[in-house]
């Protein structure tokens, strides 16, 4: 499924967090969102799934404008978010967390199958299914969070701060998983990742957000070669 954001404006009280943001995730695409802290990346993701209300604009999933819908309706239509800081349900086991991911679904029979599928993508989860999510390491938690979002059977997956605070080897593992999910399942993905080099290397297109505005966009390889992007985000001169 494709997701098209047009002219999105979001305000926190009097201060505007997003200004006329336009963004497109093509069907089956992997898009990265780049920007400094406070640029509005998390706000944009939360607004797309409905955790924050927008002032104006549109968020069109395939051909439905979801901006006026409740979050649970958007999940049913195929949107899922891996939130920043993972937001796992700490008092529930990993398996229960995964099952909650399937909460909005109506096809009960397929849920067990999808659970196995998620475990097949991330075999590390298999041995910790009955552990409490609060007792996991950071990498395990992030896998659980990604698995939980996949259990919603999304057509468009938003991943906020994929690797915050994780070891490089785990980060590569997660990036690889997302790429496989993107290719094998055809799930469109929008990813926020602090390692811009990695983020641009796995995505086809990218958007750069600065103080709430999209200041640059294009194919990831073009952006990688732009001097201003290199200087600001890649630490190269």
């Amino acid at each position: 499924m494709s997701l098209i954001v047009k002219g999105l404006n979001v305000l926190y009280g009097d201060s505007q967090a997003l200004w006329d943001v336009d963004l497109e995730i093509p069907n089956g695409g992997l898009v990265s969102l780049i920007g400094a802290n406070g640029a509005g990346k998390t706000t944009l993701m939360k607004t797309i799934v409905g955790l924050i209300l927008a002032r104006s604009g549109s968020v069109v999933l395939e051909d439905v404008d979801v901006l006026s819908l409740a979050p649970e309706r958007r999940v049913q239509l195929g949107l899922a978010l891996v939130p920043e800081g993972r937001r796992l349900f700490k008092g529930l086991t990993v398996q229960e967390n995964l099952l909650v991911g399937a909460y909005a679904r109506r096809d009960r029979q397929a849920i067990q199958q999808d659970l196995e599928k998620v475990v097949a993508y991330m075999p590390e989860l298999k041995s910790i299914l009955s552990r409490l999510a609060g007792d996991l390491s950071g990498g395990q938690q992030q896998m659980c969070a990604i698995g939980r979002a996949l259990m919603a059977k999304p057509r468009v997956l938003l991943v906020d701060e994929m690797s915050l605070g994780l070891a490089p080897v785990v980060v590569d593992r997660l990036a690889d998983t997302l790429q496989r999910v993107n290719q094998d399942e055809g799930i469109s993905i929008l990813i926020v990742e602090q390692d811009v080099e990695l983020s641009l290397s796995i995505s086809q297109t990218a958007y750069v957000l600065e103080t709430g505005r999209v200041v640059a966009s294009g194919t990831s390889s073009d952006l990688r070669n732009r001097e201003d992007i290199k200087a600001a985000y890649l630490g190269l001169h």
């Binding site: 649970e72 899922a80 937001r87 796992l88 008092g91 909650v100 909460y103 939980r148």
Partner: protein, 319 residues
């Protein structure tokens, strides 16, 4: 044999416990029958509280509002000529409705604010019933007609009605501990944003949880009204009832199925014994005990108990 025990052990234990409790009303004397009736009442109230506090994480200190509402609606319906069973059913529905109507507004509040709002709700309802007069009897309360049953039969009937409440409340909690809806409630407690992003309507889920809590609490309120025959605002909307149930929940262990039962039995039986032996010091002793529990086993009796049982199991496996 052990595999058989593993599979059927827990249901068998539950079934035999239920049978013993059911049969108990035929050999207990009047005094202990009353004590255990009160224990069962508190099991139901504590399980009701467990739903909203232990599972949903909303600390209601005003669940007595449901108790009082249940007591008054049952009493008024019986006075209007309804049969007891219908009045009890209706009063449970009134309790649920009260929670469903007020929940969307009150459950927006978090933490202390919600706790205080529930206490305010309790006081407001008490004032309302006091001042409406007429059907509610106002300050004079309601005297219900005496039952035609002999005292022991009446006590047995009330015991069984309370047992029904306690059993249904426990079944609800058991269902929550392993159903999709239960996961949704606990997920909303652990992470509001995470739950909403997963497609859970957190407000609706919480309101429904409070509705269940309200229904079981109102039911035992109704049975209580029938039991003591005379109700008035002070005793029906008694905040100390909520506090007592909260202590029992704390003692037993929040969010577990067995915890509230242990807490209610332990505290109520203990309170009765302490009261009969040390009348004057009764509150002091209970207070010290509550402090001790909160200090040394803040997660409730259930946790050390579980550890003890699992240790014994391991030793048994070795031997």
């Amino acid at each position: 044999m052990t595999a058989y025990l593993k599979k059927y052990g827990a249901p068998l234990a539950w079934a035999s416990a239920a049978l013993i409790v059911l049969a108990a009303c035929f050999w207990l004397d009047n005094y202990w029958l009353r004590v255990w009736t009160s224990v069962l009442m508190f099991v139901a109230i504590t399980q009701g509280l467990n739903v909203i506090v232990g599972f949903a994480g909303y600390h209601s200190f005003g669940n007595a509002a449901f108790f009082g509402t249940g007591a008054y609606s049952a009493a008024m319906l019986v006075m209007a000529g309804w049969p007891l069973w219908a009045a009890l059913l209706a009063c449970s529905l009134v309790g649920a409705l009260l929670a469903l109507i007020l929940g969307p507004a009150l459950l927006r509040l978090k933490g202390h604010y919600f706790a205080i709002a529930t206490v305010a709700l309790n006081s407001a309802l008490a004032e309302l019933i006091l001042n409406v007069g007429g059907l509610t009897g106002g300050a004079q309360g309601i005297s219900m007609p005496m039952s035609t049953l002999s005292p022991i039969d009446l006590y047995r009937q009330v015991y069984l009605l309370m047992l029904t409440g306690a059993a249904v409340a426990t079944l609800i909690v058991f269902w929550l501990s392993r159903s999709k809806f239960g996961y949704a409630i606990r997920a909303s407690k652990d992470s509001e944003d995470g739950a909403r992003a997963m497609g859970i309507n957190t407000t609706a889920v919480r309101v429904a949880a409070w509705g269940l809590s309200g229904a079981v609490t109102a039911y035992v309120g109704g049975v209580w009204a029938y039991w003591i025959n005379f109700i008035e605002v002070g005793s029906a909307f008694d905040v100390s009832l909520s506090v007592k149930a909260y202590i029992m929940l704390l003692m037993g262990g929040m969010g577990s199925v067995v915890g509230p039962i242990i807490g209610a039995v332990f505290f109520e039986v203990l309170a009765t014994l302490v009261w009969s032996k040390f009348g004057a010091l009764h509150n002091l002793i209970l207070g010290v005990l509550v402090c001790a529990v909160v200090l040394f086993i803040p997660s409730g009796i259930i946790i050390p108990l579980r550890r003890f049982l699992s240790l014994r199991k391991q030793e048994g496996a070795k031997g």
